[in-house]
Symmetry: C2
Subunit: 166 residues, 2 copies
Protein backbone atom coordinates (compact mmCIF):
# COMPACT_ATOMS: atom_id res chain seq x y z
CA UNK A 1 0.00 0.00 0.00
CA UNK A 2 2.34 2.77 -1.13
CA UNK A 3 -0.35 5.45 -0.77
CA UNK A 4 -0.86 4.59 2.90
CA UNK A 5 2.92 4.69 3.47
CA UNK A 6 3.09 8.09 1.79
CA UNK A 7 0.30 9.49 3.97
CA UNK A 8 2.06 8.06 7.05
CA UNK A 9 5.37 9.67 6.08
CA UNK A 10 3.70 13.01 5.43
CA UNK A 11 1.96 12.94 8.81
CA UNK A 12 5.21 12.20 10.69
CA UNK A 13 7.28 14.65 8.67
CA UNK A 14 5.63 17.48 10.60
CA UNK A 15 5.36 15.70 13.99
CA UNK A 16 8.07 17.46 16.04
CA UNK A 17 10.64 15.51 18.03
CA UNK A 18 13.48 16.14 20.43
CA UNK A 19 16.84 14.88 19.20
CA UNK A 20 19.40 12.65 20.85
CA UNK A 21 22.58 10.80 19.89
CA UNK A 22 22.87 7.34 21.40
CA UNK A 23 26.40 5.94 21.70
CA UNK A 24 27.95 2.70 22.90
CA UNK A 25 31.23 0.81 22.97
CA UNK A 26 30.68 -2.43 21.06
CA UNK A 27 33.21 -5.00 19.86
CA UNK A 28 36.04 -2.67 20.73
CA UNK A 29 34.82 0.32 18.74
CA UNK A 30 32.58 3.35 19.31
CA UNK A 31 29.14 3.33 17.65
CA UNK A 32 26.51 6.02 17.67
CA UNK A 33 23.49 7.34 15.87
CA UNK A 34 20.92 10.10 15.93
CA UNK A 35 17.58 9.08 17.43
CA UNK A 36 14.37 11.14 17.33
CA UNK A 37 12.20 8.63 19.21
CA UNK A 38 13.58 9.04 22.73
CA UNK A 39 10.89 9.36 25.41
CA UNK A 40 10.70 9.11 29.17
CA UNK A 41 8.98 5.83 30.07
CA UNK A 42 8.51 5.64 33.84
CA UNK A 43 10.27 6.63 37.09
CA UNK A 44 10.10 3.16 38.69
CA UNK A 45 12.32 1.73 37.29
CA UNK A 46 13.82 4.96 35.97
CA UNK A 47 13.59 4.26 32.25
CA UNK A 48 13.33 5.53 28.70
CA UNK A 49 12.30 4.14 25.33
CA UNK A 50 13.72 4.67 21.85
CA UNK A 51 13.73 2.81 18.57
CA UNK A 52 16.15 1.87 15.81
CA UNK A 53 14.39 1.64 12.46
CA UNK A 54 16.81 -0.80 10.86
CA UNK A 55 19.76 -2.82 11.98
CA UNK A 56 22.34 -1.99 9.31
CA UNK A 57 25.35 0.17 10.18
CA UNK A 58 25.50 1.85 13.57
CA UNK A 59 22.09 0.62 14.72
CA UNK A 60 23.34 -2.95 14.35
CA UNK A 61 26.10 -2.12 16.82
CA UNK A 62 23.82 -0.32 19.26
CA UNK A 63 21.38 -3.20 19.49
CA UNK A 64 24.21 -5.45 20.73
CA UNK A 65 25.40 -3.02 23.40
CA UNK A 66 25.13 -3.85 27.10
CA UNK A 67 25.02 -0.14 27.95
CA UNK A 68 24.23 3.12 26.11
CA UNK A 69 24.95 6.77 26.60
CA UNK A 70 21.96 8.82 25.44
CA UNK A 71 22.81 12.47 24.77
CA UNK A 72 19.94 14.97 24.78
CA UNK A 73 21.08 17.55 22.25
CA UNK A 74 21.16 21.33 22.24
CA UNK A 75 20.81 23.82 19.40
CA UNK A 76 24.59 23.84 18.80
CA UNK A 77 24.44 20.15 17.82
CA UNK A 78 22.39 20.51 14.60
CA UNK A 79 25.31 19.61 12.31
CA UNK A 80 26.39 16.72 14.53
CA UNK A 81 22.82 15.35 14.60
CA UNK A 82 22.79 15.45 10.79
CA UNK A 83 26.14 13.64 10.61
CA UNK A 84 25.00 10.87 12.97
CA UNK A 85 21.67 10.53 11.10
CA UNK A 86 23.29 9.71 7.74
CA UNK A 87 25.11 6.56 6.74
CA UNK A 88 28.77 6.55 5.82
CA UNK A 89 29.65 9.81 7.56
CA UNK A 90 32.72 10.37 9.71
CA UNK A 91 31.85 9.70 13.31
CA UNK A 92 33.83 10.35 16.49
CA UNK A 93 36.37 12.69 14.92
CA UNK A 94 38.49 14.92 17.11
CA UNK A 95 36.72 18.06 15.85
CA UNK A 96 33.35 16.71 17.05
CA UNK A 97 34.50 17.00 20.65
CA UNK A 98 34.01 13.44 21.90
CA UNK A 99 35.39 12.21 25.17
CA UNK A 100 35.07 8.65 26.55
CA UNK A 101 33.65 7.43 29.84
CA UNK A 102 35.69 4.99 31.94
CA UNK A 103 33.00 2.43 30.98
CA UNK A 104 33.85 2.91 27.29
CA UNK A 105 30.90 4.85 25.88
CA UNK A 106 31.68 7.90 23.72
CA UNK A 107 30.64 11.02 25.65
CA UNK A 108 29.83 14.47 24.33
CA UNK A 109 30.56 16.90 27.20
CA UNK A 110 28.71 19.76 25.45
CA UNK A 111 25.36 17.91 25.61
CA UNK A 112 22.91 19.46 28.13
CA UNK A 113 22.33 15.97 29.55
CA UNK A 114 23.58 12.43 28.96
CA UNK A 115 21.77 9.39 30.37
CA UNK A 116 23.72 6.21 30.91
CA UNK A 117 21.33 3.29 30.44
CA UNK A 118 21.18 -0.47 29.95
CA UNK A 119 18.63 -2.42 27.92
CA UNK A 120 15.63 -3.81 29.81
CA UNK A 121 13.60 -5.15 26.89
CA UNK A 122 13.96 -5.22 23.10
CA UNK A 123 10.88 -5.70 20.91
CA UNK A 124 11.30 -6.79 17.28
CA UNK A 125 8.95 -5.20 14.74
CA UNK A 126 10.06 -6.07 11.22
CA UNK A 127 13.59 -4.74 10.82
CA UNK A 128 13.10 -2.27 13.67
CA UNK A 129 13.85 -2.66 17.35
CA UNK A 130 11.92 -0.88 20.10
CA UNK A 131 14.10 -0.61 23.20
CA UNK A 132 13.21 0.01 26.84
CA UNK A 133 16.30 0.96 28.84
CA UNK A 134 16.92 1.56 32.53
CA UNK A 135 18.69 4.81 33.36
CA UNK A 136 21.64 4.23 35.70
CA UNK A 137 23.07 7.73 35.85
CA UNK A 138 22.47 11.22 34.50
CA UNK A 139 25.40 13.48 33.59
CA UNK A 140 24.50 17.16 33.41
CA UNK A 141 26.30 19.38 30.88
CA UNK A 142 25.98 23.08 30.11
CA UNK A 143 22.40 24.30 29.64
CA UNK A 144 21.41 25.22 26.11
CA UNK A 145 18.16 25.51 24.15
CA UNK A 146 17.08 22.08 22.94
CA UNK A 147 17.28 20.85 19.36
CA UNK A 148 13.99 19.96 17.59
CA UNK A 149 13.58 17.84 14.45
CA UNK A 150 10.70 18.98 12.26
CA UNK A 151 10.06 18.88 8.50
CA UNK A 152 13.53 17.40 7.87
CA UNK A 153 15.27 20.26 9.64
CA UNK A 154 17.09 20.52 12.95
CA UNK A 155 15.90 23.69 14.68
CA UNK A 156 16.44 25.46 17.99
CA UNK A 157 13.61 25.54 20.54
CA UNK A 158 14.76 29.05 21.52
CA UNK A 159 12.34 30.79 19.10
CA UNK A 160 9.41 28.93 20.67
CA UNK A 161 10.45 29.97 24.14
CA UNK A 162 10.68 33.62 23.06
CA UNK A 163 7.23 33.47 21.48
CA UNK A 164 5.76 31.86 24.61
CA UNK A 165 7.25 34.59 26.82
CA UNK A 166 5.49 37.36 24.83
CA UNK B 1 17.75 7.60 44.52
CA UNK B 2 15.64 10.74 44.55
CA UNK B 3 18.53 12.88 43.28
CA UNK B 4 18.89 10.72 40.16
CA UNK B 5 15.14 10.91 39.55
CA UNK B 6 15.25 14.69 39.89
CA UNK B 7 18.11 14.99 37.39
CA UNK B 8 16.21 12.70 35.01
CA UNK B 9 13.03 14.80 35.30
CA UNK B 10 14.96 18.01 34.73
CA UNK B 11 16.64 16.60 31.61
CA UNK B 12 13.33 15.49 30.08
CA UNK B 13 11.47 18.64 31.05
CA UNK B 14 13.31 20.47 28.26
CA UNK B 15 13.40 17.59 25.75
CA UNK B 16 10.81 18.68 23.17
CA UNK B 17 8.07 16.33 21.97
CA UNK B 18 5.24 16.27 19.47
CA UNK B 19 1.82 15.80 21.02
CA UNK B 20 -0.94 13.32 20.23
CA UNK B 21 -4.23 12.21 21.75
CA UNK B 22 -4.81 8.46 21.58
CA UNK B 23 -8.44 7.33 21.75
CA UNK B 24 -10.24 4.00 21.77
CA UNK B 25 -13.66 2.46 22.33
CA UNK B 26 -13.33 0.08 25.29
CA UNK B 27 -16.05 -1.67 27.29
CA UNK B 28 -18.72 0.42 25.60
CA UNK B 29 -17.21 3.80 26.42
CA UNK B 30 -14.77 6.24 24.83
CA UNK B 31 -11.31 6.55 26.42
CA UNK B 32 -8.48 8.85 25.48
CA UNK B 33 -5.34 10.51 26.74
CA UNK B 34 -2.57 12.85 25.72
CA UNK B 35 0.66 11.11 24.74
CA UNK B 36 4.01 12.81 24.14
CA UNK B 37 5.96 9.64 23.32
CA UNK B 38 4.56 8.86 19.86
CA UNK B 39 7.22 7.99 17.28
CA UNK B 40 7.35 6.40 13.88
CA UNK B 41 8.80 2.88 14.23
CA UNK B 42 9.21 1.32 10.77
CA UNK B 43 7.48 1.21 7.36
CA UNK B 44 7.36 -2.61 7.14
CA UNK B 45 5.08 -3.26 8.91
CA UNK B 46 3.85 0.33 8.97
CA UNK B 47 4.05 1.00 12.68
CA UNK B 48 4.46 3.43 15.54
CA UNK B 49 5.43 3.27 19.20
CA UNK B 50 4.10 5.12 22.23
CA UNK B 51 3.99 4.56 25.96
CA UNK B 52 1.57 4.86 28.84
CA UNK B 53 3.33 5.72 32.08
CA UNK B 54 0.76 4.22 34.43
CA UNK B 55 -2.37 2.15 34.07
CA UNK B 56 -4.82 4.09 36.20
CA UNK B 57 -7.67 6.00 34.58
CA UNK B 58 -7.74 6.37 30.81
CA UNK B 59 -4.46 4.55 30.23
CA UNK B 60 -5.97 1.46 31.82
CA UNK B 61 -8.68 1.56 29.18
CA UNK B 62 -6.31 2.18 26.29
CA UNK B 63 -4.09 -0.77 27.15
CA UNK B 64 -7.12 -3.09 26.78
CA UNK B 65 -8.14 -1.70 23.37
CA UNK B 66 -8.00 -3.81 20.22
CA UNK B 67 -7.61 -0.66 18.10
CA UNK B 68 -6.55 2.95 18.68
CA UNK B 69 -7.00 6.22 16.90
CA UNK B 70 -3.84 8.32 17.30
CA UNK B 71 -4.40 12.02 16.58
CA UNK B 72 -1.34 14.13 15.74
CA UNK B 73 -2.25 17.51 17.16
CA UNK B 74 -2.05 21.04 15.80
CA UNK B 75 -1.47 24.36 17.57
CA UNK B 76 -5.24 24.88 18.07
CA UNK B 77 -5.35 21.78 20.32
CA UNK B 78 -3.23 23.11 23.20
CA UNK B 79 -6.17 23.31 25.63
CA UNK B 80 -7.50 19.92 24.59
CA UNK B 81 -4.06 18.35 25.06
CA UNK B 82 -3.96 19.81 28.58
CA UNK B 83 -7.43 18.44 29.35
CA UNK B 84 -6.54 14.94 28.15
CA UNK B 85 -3.23 15.02 30.06
CA UNK B 86 -4.85 15.59 33.46
CA UNK B 87 -6.90 13.16 35.51
CA UNK B 88 -10.53 13.76 36.33
CA UNK B 89 -11.17 16.24 33.52
CA UNK B 90 -14.23 16.24 31.27
CA UNK B 91 -13.46 14.24 28.15
CA UNK B 92 -15.43 13.86 24.93
CA UNK B 93 -17.75 16.80 25.52
CA UNK B 94 -19.74 18.25 22.65
CA UNK B 95 -17.72 21.48 22.71
CA UNK B 96 -14.47 19.55 22.13
CA UNK B 97 -15.66 18.62 18.63
CA UNK B 98 -15.46 14.82 18.77
CA UNK B 99 -16.97 12.60 16.14
CA UNK B 100 -16.93 8.76 16.14
CA UNK B 101 -15.67 6.34 13.52
CA UNK B 102 -17.91 3.47 12.41
CA UNK B 103 -15.43 1.23 14.26
CA UNK B 104 -16.19 3.09 17.51
CA UNK B 105 -13.07 5.16 18.17
CA UNK B 106 -13.58 8.82 19.10
CA UNK B 107 -12.33 10.94 16.19
CA UNK B 108 -11.23 14.57 16.19
CA UNK B 109 -11.81 15.86 12.64
CA UNK B 110 -9.75 19.01 13.26
CA UNK B 111 -6.54 16.98 13.82
CA UNK B 112 -4.01 17.32 10.95
CA UNK B 113 -3.72 13.53 10.89
CA UNK B 114 -5.23 10.54 12.69
CA UNK B 115 -3.68 7.07 12.49
CA UNK B 116 -5.87 4.05 13.11
CA UNK B 117 -3.71 1.34 14.61
CA UNK B 118 -3.83 -2.00 16.42
CA UNK B 119 -1.42 -3.28 19.05
CA UNK B 120 1.45 -5.49 17.84
CA UNK B 121 3.41 -5.82 21.08
CA UNK B 122 3.11 -4.51 24.62
CA UNK B 123 6.15 -4.40 26.89
CA UNK B 124 5.70 -4.08 30.66
CA UNK B 125 8.20 -1.88 32.48
CA UNK B 126 7.10 -1.33 36.07
CA UNK B 127 3.67 0.34 35.93
CA UNK B 128 4.31 1.55 32.38
CA UNK B 129 3.48 -0.07 29.07
CA UNK B 130 5.50 0.46 25.89
CA UNK B 131 3.31 -0.25 22.88
CA UNK B 132 4.20 -1.04 19.27
CA UNK B 133 1.15 -0.65 17.02
CA UNK B 134 0.54 -1.36 13.34
CA UNK B 135 -0.99 1.50 11.39
CA UNK B 136 -4.02 0.34 9.37
CA UNK B 137 -5.18 3.66 7.95
CA UNK B 138 -4.29 7.34 7.96
CA UNK B 139 -7.03 10.00 7.98
CA UNK B 140 -5.85 13.42 6.84
CA UNK B 141 -7.45 16.53 8.35
CA UNK B 142 -6.83 20.22 7.77
CA UNK B 143 -3.16 21.25 7.80
CA UNK B 144 -2.05 23.29 10.78
CA UNK B 145 1.23 24.01 12.56
CA UNK B 146 2.07 21.18 14.94
CA UNK B 147 1.83 21.34 18.73
CA UNK B 148 5.07 20.90 20.74
CA UNK B 149 5.35 20.01 24.43
CA UNK B 150 8.35 21.66 26.11
CA UNK B 151 9.02 22.85 29.67
CA UNK B 152 5.45 21.96 30.74
CA UNK B 153 3.93 24.12 28.02
CA UNK B 154 2.08 23.32 24.83
CA UNK B 155 3.49 25.56 22.08
CA UNK B 156 3.03 26.05 18.34
CA UNK B 157 5.83 24.99 16.00
CA UNK B 158 4.93 27.99 13.80
CA UNK B 159 7.52 30.27 15.45
CA UNK B 160 10.27 27.77 14.71
CA UNK B 161 9.26 27.57 11.06
CA UNK B 162 9.33 31.35 10.76
CA UNK B 163 12.79 31.51 12.33
CA UNK B 164 14.08 28.77 10.01
CA UNK B 165 12.78 30.63 6.95
CA UNK B 166 14.77 33.77 7.83
Amino acid sequence: MPQLTEKFRNAFRVHPAGVSIVTAHVDGRPVGMTVSSLASLTLEPLSVSFSLSQLSGSAGGLVKASSFLIHLLGEQHADLAGTFARKGTERFTEEQGWDYLATGEPYLPSAPAALRARPLAVTEVGEARLIAAEVISVIRGPDSPALVYHDRQFLSIAQLQLAAAD
